[in-house]
Amino acid sequence: MKKYIILYRESIRIAFAAASTYRADFILQSVIIILSNILFPLMTWLIYGAGASFEGWTLYQVLLIQSVFTMSMGVSSMLFTGIVWSTMEHVREGTLEIILIKPVDCMGYLLAATFSIENIGVVFGGAVLFGVALFHLPVPNLFLWFQFLFLFLLGVLVMLGINLLMAATSFKWVANSRIPELYQSVLRFGNYPQKIFSKSIQAITSFLIPVAMVGFFPAAALLQKTDSKMYIAVLPCILFAWVGIALYKYMIRQYEGVGG
């Protein structure tokens, strides 16, 4: 474990070094990433400003859900998303051997090596929105904060699972860049109050692909809107991450590379 902490520290150092090499690109990328992620909650602002709403949900409650979703996306993009593109590239170009000859777990190494510093802005942007939304809502007690933290971490676990599943598919489905788009579309269900969806969509997004845990469930904890369904979803979340890890490791074992 200590080794992976050191590896992570080195990877963060390298990410900073690379970012400082191309300063203009880093700043531009960070701004674009922040804008594309923050724009969505701002649209909610505009919708509510125009008099429309999600029935039974105030503007700041919806903003809270979307800010939690943004933070979760930011954390996931910073820590896990890089492995998807990196795996795709390694498999397509047959360069995974470079990692396989190192005395490290391939998945752990790739997760560390693809740390993306640019996405720290998304976490920060989400946190600002989170603060704004919370400022207009009743102050949660310590127990609600614990619930929130627990569910937020589970949401991050779901994101880990999703990213690893995407990365794992690229072993068999070489150069398939459309799969992440498909996952992104499914993920968006976590951005809204679950009550606005039909029962079947609620069941799918809670238990099958538990994306509700990415934004809605943790926010609902702070809003005191939890129900038993959210705690039942804990199991599928853990299972989802476990399947992602297991499938990725299985695909690594099956990896055959390309011609030399």
Partner: protein, 333 residues
């Protein structure tokens, strides 16, 4: 000599897909792809002694890289047995790879945007190298490869030769017992090639075993103590360079410049000197001859005596049979 690698009856089958050309075939393969089983490596056995430099040669697609991948533990064998330093590379890969290093001429381990020194630090963390060992080895390797301040410049601004030298540092910082080299001198100029060859020799003297795959026969001639040739997945030769050259018979190449036009019997494209065991293999400007002499049939001394009786010459050189010819003949089967 103590064996460090033992390979017995190693085979590897791939399943791949094939399709014909043209729109119709593409459409057909879109719905139903035709599977093809490929024997990348067939029943290959060999061993490598500790401290050896082994050259693995073969034409493109012969199975060299597949063999190397199996030796490094990154690919499972279909059948057969591999023992490297007493363990099976595929089982407990993470432990095994601590003692090996690899340089891939066409795949970089360096991070492109940052100086190599940062990539070296990453390897220090990966291999748990102590600060003292890291400093000592880095200083030694940098000195041997003549890199000095280059390791502090971004990798992208380094020349190909400098980058390749940095790849060697990456592969050897943890002081591995065996280093796999896959075309380490590809695309390099003569000076960079020689620096790398000298470096390999020096590290070999310190006890490191090298497994080299290359198409550069100069690498093989200068470095390899033994050669394994793989063709169409099968081992077709395993022995020393001298044995390899003798594979085509004990032959020498004589380059001869005559004082006047060659007076040899010409039949179509072939020339006959009339000396048994000697064959003219090329004639240039009608007075420069290249002759292949089978010294098992006629000694060099006898050949020159006979030659002097037949013609006058102003220059003569005696060379070994070129490796290219030996290798090409073996590749063609």
């Amino acid at each position: 000599m103590e064996k460090i690698i033992t390979v017995e009856n190693l085979s590897r089958k791939y399943v791949t897909y094939t399709r014909g050309s043209g729109f119709r075939e593409s459409l057909k393969s879109f719905f139903r792809r035709q599977k093809v089983s490929v024997d990348a490596v067939k029943d290959v056995s060999f061993y490598v002694g500790k401290g050896d430099i082994i050259g693995i040669l073969g034409p493109n697609g012969a199975g060299k890289s597949t063999t190397i991948k199996m030796l490094t533990g990154t690919l499972y064998a279909s059948t057969g047995n591999i023992q490297v330093m007493g363990c099976d590379p595929c089982r407990n890969r993470t432990e095994y790879v601590k003692n090996i290093g690899a340089v891939f001429g066409q795949k970089s381990q360096l991070v492109f945007d940052i100086p190599p020194i940062d990539s070296f630090r990453m390897n220090k963390a990966i291999y748990d190298i102590s600060d003292k060992d890291y400093k000592e080895r880095l200083d030694l390797l940098v000195e041997l490869l003549g890199l000095e301040d280059k390791i502090f410049r971004p990798t992208r601004v380094l020349s190909l030769g400098e980058r390749m030298k940095c790849e060697f540092i990456m592969a050897m910082l943890h002081n591995p017992d065996i280093v796999f080299l896959d075309e380490p001198t590809i695309g390099l100029d003569v000076i960079a090639k020689q620096t790398i060859r000298d470096f390999i020799k020096k590290m070999n003297e310190k006890g490191t075993t090298f497994i080299l795959t290359t198409h550069d026969l100069q690498d093989v001639e200068q470095l390899a103590k033994n050669i394994i040739i793989i063709n169409k997945g099968e081992k077709v030769f395993d022995g020393s360079i001298d044995e390899l050259k003798r594979n085509l018979g004990n032959k020498k190449i004589i380059e001869l410049t005559l004082t006047k036009k060659a007076d040899v019997n010409r039949t179509g494209e072939t020339y006959d000197l009339g000396i048994e065991g000697a064959a003219v293999i090329a004639v240039e400007e009608e007075h420069k001859l290249t002759i292949e002499v089978d010294i098992d049939r006629i000694s060099i001394n006898q050949f020159i005596i006979r030659l002097a009786e037949l013609c006058e010459f102003s220059d003569i050189s005696i060379k070994e049979l070129p490796m290219e010819k030996v290798i090409t003949t073996i590749y063609k089967g």
